[in-house]
């Protein structure tokens, strides 16, 4: 039964990937492509689908990790201020004429900002030789408010067109996706995901509480730090790829828990796959619904995802969600 479900789940994810590649404002038949279509597929569709897949995977896995590490079903990577910190860094970079990285300046400063905020959240969450979930969460929420406020302030004071673009980009825009950032971002995401998979037993144990995790032979604080770092790495890479996409980090792990179960050994990879496939699907809908207008993927994910989540919540009898 479980195996059937997992197989179906994987098949669906694969089907969505293929569909996202061939469908769109212009349908492409991969078996009979014209030169133009080949060009569209290779330099527009493929990088865009790759970015959506990578971002969705990073966010889905990050959410699953963070909800476990913080022992809080309402946790998601953005609540810790990582996205607002990234947006602020990107905006500051643009304002100060920080174009060192050429076309990649916005994503690179976003990545640096996201990583710095992760370290900052970690530093505030650190006491007596370890990270404490409540402290992490509250520190993250505090920093989130601070960065959002400063960003608002910058926006209201500045008339810089570039800044406005950067802020729009931060709200989740995949239309600019190209190959430039994919190699470096995918390295970070693969490393983060690898660490999380390797530590998924520890994540399960941490969910039972520090005391059980200790009793089962885990170095609680070390495991929490490693998992937090893996989450921060993936989230930072994701933000730099295409800005802030909501819903996936928070609710995808819950959907996967309801469909496939809560065991982190399955939950982390399945949340990654589900997040990736879902963002590809949302992006496909966003760009196909009323071309040439594009709906921002961050909005589409929530519009499709939230009702489905609410339906599952009603249908399944699980007090824990």
């Amino acid at each position: 039964m479980h195996k059937v479900r997992i197989t179906l789940f994987l098949l669906m994810a694969a089907a969505i990937l293929v569909l996202a590649l061939i469908a769109g404002p212009r349908m492409i038949n991969p078996l009979a492509m014209s030169a133009t279509e080949r060009e569209i597929l290779l330099s527009i569709r493929l990088p865009r689908v790759a970015v959506a897949l990578l971002m969705g995977m990073a966010l889905g896995a990050s959410g699953a990790i963070l909800q476990g590490v913080l022992r809080n079903p309402l946790a998601d990577p953005y609540i810790l201020g990582i996205s607002s910190g990234a947006s602020l860094a990107a905006a500051l970079g643009l304002l100060s004429g920080f174009y060192v990285f050429g076309r990649s300046s916005v994503p690179v400063s976003a990545f640096i900002g996201a990583s710095l905020v992760s370290v900052l959240v970690g530093a505030f969450g650190w006491k007596r030789g370890g990270l404490w979930p409540e402290r992490l969460l509250l520190a993250g929420i505090g920093l989130n408010f601070l960065f959002s406020a400063v960003l608002m302030l910058l926006m209201s004071l500045s008339s810089d067109e570039g800044l406005r673009r950067a802020v729009l980009w931060m709200f989740g825009d995949l239309s600019m996706a190209d190959w430039t950032l994919i190699p470096s971002a995918s390295i970070f995401i693969v490393i983060g995901l690898g660490i999380a998979l390797f530590r998924s037993k520890a994540l399960n144990a941490l969910i039972l509480g520090d005391e059980f995790a200790y009793s089962l032979g885990f170095a609680v604080q070390r495991e929490r730090l490693i998992l937090f770092a893996a989450m921060a790495l993936m989230t930072s890479a994701s933000v730099s790829l295409g800005g802030t996409i909501g819903f996936i980090g928070l609710l995808m792990p819950h959907i996967v828990r309801l469909l496939l179960g809560a065991d982190s050994r399955l939950l982390v990879p399945a949340s990654a796959i589900a997040g990736g496939a879902f963002l590809c699907f949302a992006d496909l809908v966003g760009r196909s619904l009323m071309p040439p207008l594009e709906l921002p993927s961050g909005t589409v994910t929530a519009v499709i995802g939230a009702p489905y989540f609410l339906y599952l919540l009603r249908k399944k009898d699980v007090l824990g969600v």
Partner: protein
């Protein structure tokens, strides 16, 4: 390796501890647990029972003194090796994630690279939860959840169990069944148990009790010798008269309210 050793298997030697910023103190505590020994730890709320268990488990490190497991400093063990010998069972079980019973019980295997002899099904059967193997723990009652974690502990298979109020939330049937299960494990596998309690009548069933007040030992020994009326009034700070019934159980003399 162990056969040549006949001393205590877990030993707290002149251990002192204080939580940062808190007044609660364990002061110069020394006690030892021998193989196959059952010790009931009795004391009022806040007397330091949980802290003593956490010190014995190595979850908190003493400010002074040393904790030894099999005559070797507990801190010197690798985490996984320690987990095969020593199991700590916390007082509060809160799981908000919908793991199934089977998933949690299976986590008892985590310290092992090669799964131990006791199968997950057998452990669930022992605590009477085999028919609920695939139920979410979030949908179980408090007592059932406790039994899930007891089954996990069985899989973990440690020889020393440090249990913090394991009988809380259990109705009398499962209290008795749990104690009998521990007794069976003691007879079959020679496990040692230290159990924090607050029920005097349960403590009377143990071979050895230790009464704690303000982090220090008020008395230790056989319950008949230690659990006297004055001792209990002192430990729990309550002025009630106690009377022993024929079968050894305590009953209070007067109406409480």
């Amino acid at each position: 390796m162990f056969s040549a050793y006949s001393g205590p298997i877990l030993e707290l030697d002149r251990v002192s501890f204080r939580y940062p910023g808190a007044g609660r103190i364990i002061d110069d505590l020394t006690f030892a647990i021998g193989g196959g020994e059952f010790i009931g730890l009795l004391g009022a709320n806040g007397s330091g029972k949980s802290t003593i268990l956490k010190l014995a488990a190595g979850m908190v490190r003493p400010d002074r003194g040393i904790v030894k497991l099999w005559d070797r400093p507990l801190a010197a063990y690798r985490n996984k090796d320690r987990a095969k010998l020593l199991c700590y069972f916390p007082q509060h079980l809160d799981v908000s994630v919908p793991f199934t019973v089977r998933e949690i019980v299976g986590m008892g295997m985590y310290p092992y690279d090669i799964p131990p002899a006791m199968a997950v099904d057998e452990a669930m059967d022992t605590v009477g939860l085999l028919d609920k193997a695939d139920v979410y723990v979030t949908n179980l009652s408090g007592g059932e959840r406790r039994r899930v974690f007891i089954a996990m502990t069985l899989i973990q298979g440690a020889g020393i169990l440090l249990l913090d109020e394991p009988l809380a939330n259990l109705d009398i049937r499962y209290q008795i069944e749990f104690l009998r299960l521990l007794r069976r494990l003691q007879e079959q596998k020679g496990i040692s148990v230290v159990m924090a309690l607050h029920d005097i009548n349960v403590a009377l069933q143990f071979e050895k009790v230790m009464v704690i007040k303000n982090g220090a030992v008020l008395g230790i020994g056989a319950p008949e010798a230690v659990l006297t009326g004055p001792m209990i009034r002192d430990a729990f700070d309550v002025s009630i008269e106690l009377r022993k019934a024929e079968h050894g159980m305590y009953i209070t003399h007067e109406k409480w309210f």
